[in-house]
């Protein structure tokens, strides 16, 4: 039964990750009036913002596509070269591109300074676990790496939570425009941090086994 639940949850995560990539890719028609860009018409004359926005989407998608298969042990062995290469792509795209551009875009978020603060904290809450996970693997601390990369990946998926929280805030709780942005800018990543800790608690025994498996 437990296996079945894990299997269903795993498939759900993969589907949601692919959906997030599909949403991100839909912006690459470069239509200035498309979806979220409708609320950002005043930013479109700012080239730095525009480049950061599209780079964030592109490399965010790359991070998701590189990161997701790394958790499927049957697909990619932990010690394999492919795991290392995809891992490097995942970490580098978060630490040097998607994270910093997210930090930049946070300053221009809808919802004013409180929403900006939420998204700034979100980008740090994403980059810090990723950096620690990188450090841990360099130190050959496999258990530490596994635990921190789970935290990092949970934060990568906060983009999915953001898109789930937005209609919850606007339709179920009925927040106004600005309040909804402030709500989602905190809720999406705090929820995922808690989710990450919950996963780690349930995997406590498994992480030890993974360490043995890698050694």
């Amino acid at each position: 039964m437990k296996k079945l639940i894990i299997y269903i949850l795993g498939i759900t995560v993969v589907v949601l990750a692919i959906m997030l990539v599909a949403i991100a890719m839909s912006y690459f028609t470069f239509d200035s009036d498309y979806h979220f860009l409708k609320s950002k018409q005043h930013m479109l004359s700012n080239n730095i913002w525009k480049v950061s926005f599209y780079t964030h989407l592109l490399f965010g998608s790359i991070a998701i596509l590189a990161g997701t298969p790394l958790f499927i042990k049957k697909l990619i062995r932990f010690k394999s070269k492919l795991h290392k290469t995809l891992g490097k792509i995942y970490i580098a795209s978060i630490l040097f591109i998607t994270g910093p551009t997210g930090l930049y875009l946070a300053f221009y978020a809808e919802g004013g300074s409180w929403a900006s603060l939420g998204f700034v904290l979100m980008s740090f809450a994403w980059m810090i676990p990723t950096y620690i996970a990188y450090k841990k693997i360099r130190e050959k601390d496999f258990v530490g790496h596994y635990r921190w990369i789970i935290r990092s990946y949970c934060m990568t998926l906060s983009g999915v939570t953001l898109r789930i929280m937005t209609p919850i805030g606007s339709h179920l709780i009925e927040f106004d425009y600005d309040t909804n942005f402030i709500f989602t800018s905190y809720a999406c990543w705090i929820f995922n941090i808690l989710l990450g800790e919950l996963i780690l608690l349930s995997l406590k025994k498994k992480t030890q086994n993974i360490a043995l498996l890698i050694r």
């Binding site: 018409q41 730095i48 994270g99 300053f107 221009y108």
Partner: protein, 168 residues
Amino acid sequence: MKKFFIGTLIAFTALAFTSENNLTKSLGLFTPKEEKLTINELDSIVRVKVTDTLRSCMMQANPHLFMTKCYAGFDVRVKVRDKNSGLRTNKSLKYMQEEEFDFYKRSDLTLSLFFADCGSEDLVATLYVNYSKNEILVKESFFSKTIPSEKFIEDFCEKYSNLQKKHE
């Protein structure tokens, strides 16, 4: 790695402060007091770039439009936050007091352009004004694209004159 990572973070944070962002707005860093926009200034840019031209081309196509015994004309409204209730309301520029008008030349303003004709009122378009750039972008309706005011006027005048010709 660490140095490169921290360097990237600093660079992107610094980039965010090269133009006005949410934080500089609340701290008033990019908007010194002398740059405050007055109602008259906003009114004049909207007149010059939109309403006066629209008015004259409408008059050309239909000379009696503004000669009715009841009121006909444009009304520009801006969304302001009520200081007491905190709610956003659409206020007409005509009836606005300078003290409740709290905008800066660099800020992007969203206005609603209405046309009142003998008691009936229609929303013509939404205007996005940036005074410092001397630019107005226009979005007519749900399905239409955001376009520069010059293009909007051109399209609007053409459509209006075709409509009048049909009536004749």
